[in-house]
Symmetry: C2
Subunit: 214 residues, 2 copies
DNA sequence: TAGTATTTGTGATAAATAGCACAAGATTTT
DNA sequence: AAAATCTTGTGCTATTTATCACAAATACTA
């Protein structure tokens, strides 16, 4: 009995990349792919690819490679991509709009069902086909639609308030784009996407490489 | 002589977070902060805070804490945040617009000077105060403005082409939001921001936690 | 002043992650 | 059918990162 021990975080973050390249390989009619090939496409060493995939079971065949359809199906199942996941976006500014219209999400089973904002000029309008509601209606709307996921796209100052409201509305998974640290109960999954912080690290490298070149 | 060995990646990614909270502490008139306090704000263990900051020198004072202004200044310098960094955004869709108007960037010294797109209906318009040019004018415009950084906000299929053009235009730092693996010469710094992949890992946790709850 | 409470910086240890290298399975070639 | 070539899965090792725990420095208290 292979006790399915917790999968390493870095492995988990690479799985979607494998999945994407497998889908492309399938589109091109490939039925088999080696860890070497997949690794080259994804920019990841072959040994790493094999070790990552080995967490999902013995998917490959020595001397042959991996069956693209089989591995894609396992990944799809493992990552839960076929389940439709409803989400709301709070904050209908530029970022909120971009997220609401991001085409990559639907392919991964994420459906943004509504946006929320406090700006009266935005309420009632539609963005990417989704209606914008007043923030105070969050519990009502999100509760009725049984939304589990909330995307925070408001300024840092308002983020904690919004998150508290999300939790009241029954949301258990929060994807935070506001550049701040949020307090949530341990039962809530919080993932932070901090673009400004990311930029700052890039700035570090830019400064260094500028120093190297004349 | 303390040979400044390469700073660990994870440490580097936490520094901007410290910086942000230090700025807030300064705004509130705090002149000293302990690793304990800073850690609580940032959601990072105090020992980690101390070890991270120790890479920048002996900034604190035992029994006292860290001088907020001093550490903020060191971080600002170390991360190169005071240098103005010019950047272009290629792709004037929702994401490109969101990035062009993202308020967090200017505070970190990033100035988006122009956008590029192939859609004639977008060319010549202004987005967040910045003009949209035809993609073929990239080398011309970016070269003249001495832009070093390019932000890729086009669909995956077009990303490699765009990146090649960026490199021709003299760009050496590329921040890629397209969900694909890009080929660049080793002299170019490439940072990937893969929202769809991020979503897929969140999907994994959503599926798992759904199974736990009735 | 002596004692207590804080707090840093870091050596040492632990944990997590990556990379190597090879036995064993599969296919192709001669 | 034997040899050569691929390719996987994984035990082992190396590297990276996080955590612990404590000496040394400072501040506060009585």
């Amino acid at each position: 009995m292979t006790r399915a021990t917790e999968i390493p975080r870095p492995t988990l973050s690479r799985l979607p990349i494998y999945y994407r390249w497998l889908m492309r390989a399938i589109d091109e009619g490939e039925s088999v792919i080696s860890s070497q090939q997949l690794g080259e496409l994804a920019g990841i060493p072959a040994a790493q690819v094999r070790k990552d995939l080995s967490h999902l079971g013995e998917l490959g065949q020595a001397g042959v490679g991996y069956d693209t359809h089989k591995v894609a199906a396992v990944l799809c199942d493992f990552l839960g991509l076929m389940h439709e996941k409803q989400a709301i976006v709070v904050g209908a500014g530029n970022l909120g709009r971009a997220l609401a219209g991001y085409p990559g999400f639907e392919r991964y089973g994420l459906k943004i069902v509504a946006l929320f904002d406090n700006d009266p000029s935005k309420i009632g309008r539609k963005i990417a086909g989704k209606e914008v509601f007043a923030v105070k209606r969050m519990a009502d709307v999100a509760g009725r639609l049984e939304v589990r996921m909330g995307i925070v796209a408001v300024p840092a100052e308002q983020a904690q308030t919004v998150v508290d409201q999300m939790i009241d509305a029954g949301i258990t998974v929060i994807w935070n784009f506001a550049p701040t640290h949020l307090q949530v109960p341990s039962s809530v999954l919080l993932e932070n996407e901090d673009l400004a912080a990311r930029l700052a690290t890039i700035s570090y490298y830019m400064t260094r490489s500028a120093a190297r070149e004349p």
